[in-house]
Symmetry: C2
Subunit: 305 residues, 2 copies
DNA sequence: CATCATCTATAGTTTTAAACTATCATATAT
DNA sequence: ATATATGATAGTTTAAAACTATAGATGATG
């Protein structure tokens, strides 16, 4: 693209030295090379920029204007180069993180705070969408990384963050509310389970659980919010199935309900940080994962269940 | 200089198409060429800008940042190119004009007004300095053109603007104040002439006049302003020699003095617009000269002497 | 499950751009 | 007049950037 950055540098050198010869020396090229480039620039712009003479080189008013602009342009290029330097390893970028709704609101407030403390220059935008949507957005590149269950995003790389058990949530007058001990699978037989809408990982897990326990999934309500499920359960609409993070943070302080762990190996899910296997940001993701892991642990250990 | 403007364009094309192949097509180059340039850019910046994969190309957050900056830079280059287009002939630049003090304040107020009307985009900065100084500044390039007497700036090109006669200026009680008719050279014999300081064209002209007429140049005062000379003359300090433009505009309305034309062929000077013979702005100068000529004519014809 | 289409990367070659050296023309300064 | 600045020009060499052809890898398709 004409004029070239190099040509602009040459013109500035001519402007500052007032001589083609000295400008060429400063630019570490021969005088003819520099002359040719300046001439080419003038041809390209269709204007005379430099007045040549025995006295050396004097810029025309237009030439001076071009020099001013060239300086700004070259400054912007320098700045462009600068932002990439010293920033290859450490986490200083702006990153787009996707998260499923059953994790985001409970893990991220604390985790983002820690991230800010540890990496002050790091900025992150968070998108909360159901499993199906963040999978699409991870693949098409509109998200850099996501927090989800790895098995729902095949062909991606991931690192585990924490394991979540599933809990049931019933009103105090329910037949299952008698104790806080873990509930056996067979206790759920024939009971209505409340579920989120289509496209959520949790919905699949709940259907799976129903199949194994002999329960059925109520079609009465399909929401996107765990709070809605919990409140429906409190009103006696069925058994809410909640992941432990939510159970710890929210459900445990609601006196209208009783929560119990499900006593089954498969009633738990592994939450991971996931990215495209082609992404060059693996190091950054691992740094983020470290912080997320710690935040999750802290959240879980704060409660001594 | 790396990264190149071309490389930036390529990166933007990749960012907008999401595919190396399509980006290359849009840029009218082959895909490998574009790939190589992007790779070179990444090497230069030391960061991965594009994530390659089966899906095509996805920019990293850093890549997106670079694209934003590249867009601004390319925009500035486009603007640079734009300011030179359509402006090769017509007068739209900013120009630096030098003028001698015995002409500037009397000619330019009117002339600049006309210039602005005729060429609205034209901007001019005016420097008023003595002949010696504007000559130096014309030569070293800090002025583009000057209004002066051509013979004081050898080796330059010029176009005549107007001819100025020299006038004398004496107090009403002077022996020379009896009439408004032109004064003969020999009438000045033995009289003290008031002069500007060293380095002014007028000073040389006055010394020349003294030599030819048998007058002498008073050493009482050496100023830079014609007004000062006039006022000293009004106080009886000697005969002020004034160029006609000043005589018309200022001295003719001062009732404390009488002005008379000098009746001698050599008692006049040719004021010209002058520029370096190497300057590429000849056309512009001629446009300016046309306006200056008209302004001077108007000024002179307004008075019906 | 093989085939095809679609990505980008790599290798080797050709073309174009930009550099070099040497020399010229011109004007200023000594 | 001679030496020493200036930038321009000619011809050559080097380096950058383009091309063609092909490989490798993955996802979609019959």
């Amino acid at each position: 693209m004409r004029p070239t950055l190099k040509q602009m540098q040459y013109l500035i050198a001519v402007s500052e030295t007032g001589k083609f010869n000295e400008a060429a020396r400063r630019m570490n090229v021969s005088q003819p090379s520099l002359s040719t480039q300046i001439a080419d620039m003038e041809l390209e712009l269709g204007t005379t920029l430099v007045e040549r003479g025995r006295h050396g080189a004097i810029l025309t008013p237009m030439g001076e204007d071009i020099v001013r602009r060239a300086r700004l342009i070259l400054g912007a290029v320098e700045e462009l180069k600068f932002v990439t330097k010293n920033k290859s390893d450490i986490l200083t970028d702006r990153m787009r993180l996707g998260v499923i709704p059953s994790v985001g609101p409970y893990l991220l407030p604390r985790a983002t705070k820690t991230l800010h403390q540890k990496y002050p220059d790091f900025r992150m935008s968070v998108v909360e969408e159901r499993t199906l949507d963040i999978d699409r957005r991870l693949r098409d590149g509109s998200l850099d990384t996501i927090i989800s269950t790895a098995e729902d995003h095949p062909g991606s790389e991931s690192t585990p963050l924490f394991k979540e058990a599933l809990w049931i949530c019933v009103p105090p007058d329910s037949s299952l509310a008698g104790t806080h001990d873990p509930v056996k699978l067979q206790d759920l037989k024939g009971m209505p389970l409340l579920s989120l809408g289509h496209g959520h990982h949790l919905t699949l897990a709940i259907h799976d659980l129903a199949k194994q326990s002999g329960a059925y999934v109520s079609s009465e309500y399909e929401g996107t919010s765990l709070d809605a499920i919990r409140q429906m359960s409190a009103m006696g609409a069925g058994i809410a199935i909640l992941p432990s993070l939510y159970a710890f943070v929210e459900a445990s302080r609601d006196t209208d309900i009783v929560v119990r762990r499900i006593d089954h190996k498969k009633a738990e899910r592994q939450i991971s940080l996931i990215w495209r296997d082609t992404s060059p940001l693996k190091k950054s993701f691992e740094q983020i994962a470290e912080v997320l892991k710690q935040s999750a642990n802290t959240l879980i250990n704060e409660r001594d269940w």
